[in-house]
Symmetry: C2
């Protein structure tokens, strides 16, 4: 089905039908450059997580700036990336179930595929699927970093699973995955640093334990947008996997930097463009609710302030005044999501804008995958 | 791009790759029948809201059971329905902005289109767009029902806008829209009834005011899954527009009926099928988080109990035990969303299952629209 209302390059942002998912190209490119420079300067590999943008176009921009490959979260994201020509994909997650393992093993005929494992039975299933497909898959053993996350405990359990990978004929042991998800969102820098150092010490112990048993962790991977610089400087991790830095979101904007100031290593490049579709005294109703912006982690910020996003329904949001006047009927408002990843996942395409003019329309290739 | 992992009819539900959005056909058909019978018995028109399912296939099933047309929430949903052959579409919402008004006016060349209005300037813009398109559009004036909803106040403001519609050459005044959204989710029946009666009295006054000025409201439309029977019995409304009844969700399950028992006029026919992808003592990590189930209104129920959905991340959910054992690694779990509409909007397709076997795959035609 063709869809009316798809914008064309050259259109003014002010004429976009809303809601629309807009990326500011200048800001995006600055973010991409900054992370590439930071990884290079620290001497670590950059393997960005594409679950944030799900876009082959942006993945290519990351590879052009020196990324060694990409991380994905699901088999279908991996399929979308390989279909788009990305040759090195790490599924930074466990893959469970016969159907998905078969798809993953077949995908490894076309590209370099690596996957996480945290269970011996699952590892055996993976090995069988890969043998049947006649391919080869790299394995990262995932180390647990927090109460509610996947992964085996550090130390002996980690060693035993790594040894089991080493003995599987169709699998290549690649190294250790330890993404410290909780630490990303710790607001103040000293606490974030301390949490990262605790985690890094456990990672180092496991790496050394494996070394004493003759197993080398070629790759030690982890680190998101909140702690990328800490893992990069750790001398334990040699690969970082940040995702959100490309767009930023209201959650990461609330982090503080080393000096206690706001975390501004990267800038907001993504927003949901909405319009006022009903207006009366004291409120403005927007055409952007639960179906236009993911609200599971909180309400979006209104760029430029003046009003705040106060309530939502499926297709509507309600703005109330804060320190300025409410926008008029038909006027546009830019909303900054608290969590950009599931917001991007609501859209079939990204509208790429430079200086207020549409420059390109990019498919969200792995949307819903 | 073709996508691996799309299931085929005949596949067992147990072999579905997860997360998957599954509809139980027997339960769906019973829900469709029950609402059709209830509307017919009450002598009101049924115009189901398709923002819930966004599926042309299900819209057709509703029309086959006597629905007079469908409601949609956006112009792009209307476009998807008309492209799918639905001939009578009511956009139960205001449409603001030159681009969207132009699309709406053009769509009215192909199908019977009606739209809500709550502002004189917007009405004039609509009239101009329709004149330019050489089509004709029906107008429902929306009456405000609650603090945070669109619509003009009842009484004089309502009358003045209706008169302005009557005088517009390209527009047809159809009637009054008053969807009492807040009342749908009032848990106990006496309070829900009282809120509906208060609203209905205001609707009746406005209808009578218009009649005294020679304007007839041919259609008085409103009523969702929570109050469909109350508007249907009101003798003021002559059209109901429920959406969620096709699938039900955990929110409506919490309503109480007239006798104080649980509201069970309709049954749960929709769930997100998830799998355990990591497991250890005390927790099971599922492959269904924010990208698989809309969590803006709360956490899903686990069908059959035993465990509860306790935490979430973008791609993951954490189950903790409640009154039973946790599922094992690889096992499937059915999650009932608190809000089905934005959950359906996450998926490109619905997997239609009967007695545990896939019978059909239905596109979510208006997904993201």
């Amino acid at each position: 089905m063709t869809r009316a209302g798809v914008p064309s390059p050259g259109l003014s942002e002010a004429d976009l039908d809303t809601p629309a998912l807009v990326v500011d190209l200048d800001a995006l490119e600055r973010n991409l450059d900054r992370m590439a420079v930071a990884a290079h300067a620290a001497g670590v590999a950059l393997r960005p997580h594409v679950k944030t943008h799900k876009s082959v176009t942006i993945a290519r921009m990351q590879l052009e700036r020196g990324a060694v490959g990409v991380c994905v979260q699901t088999v279908s994201e991996a399929e979308a990336m390989v279909a788009g020509g990305i040759g090195d994909v790490f599924v930074a997650n466990e893959v469970v179930g016969a159907g998905k393992l078969r798809r993953l093993a077949r995908l490894a005929r076309e590209a370099t595929i690596t996957v996480c494992v945290d269970d011996a039975g699952n590892l055996d299933d993976l090995g069988s699927a890969v043998l049947r497909a006649g391919s080869s898959v790299g394995v990262m053993v995932e180390m647990n970093t927090a109460e509610y996350r996947a992964g085996v405990p550090p130390g002996e359990p980690f060693l035993h699973l790594a040894q089991r990978v080493e003995s599987a004929p169709s699998l290549r042991f690649v190294g250790l995955q330890a993404y410290n998800g909780v630490a990303q969102h710790i607001r103040d820098h000293p606490s974030r640093l301390a949490a990262t150092e605790r985690n890094t010490a456990r990672v180092q112990e496991s790496v050394e334990l494996l070394a004493r048993h003759g197993i080398r962790c070629r790759v030690v991977s982890g680190g998101g947008t909140g702690t990328y610089n800490l893992e990069a400087a750790s001398e334990v991790y040699n690969e970082i996997q940040p995702g959100t830095y490309v767009f930023m979101d209201a959650d990461y904007l609330a982090n503080r930097d080393r000096l206690g100031g706001p975390f501004r290593d990267f800038e907001v490049s993504l927003y949901v463009l909405a319009s006022v579709m009903s207006r009366r005294r004291g409120i403005a109703i927007l055409d952007a609710g639960l179906k236009a912006i993911s609200l599971g982690n909180g309400l979006p910020l209104v760029q430029g302030g003046g009003a705040r996003y106060k309530r939502f329904a499926d297709e509507h949001g309600v703005l109330a005044p804060s320190d300025g006047p409410l926008p008029a009927l038909g006027h546009q408002v830019r909303l900054i999501p608290v969590n950009c990843d599931p917001t991007v996942n609501l859209y079939d395409r990204l509208v790429a804008v430079r200086s207020g003019v549409v420059e390109a329309i990019w498919p969200v290739d792995a949307r819903g995958y």
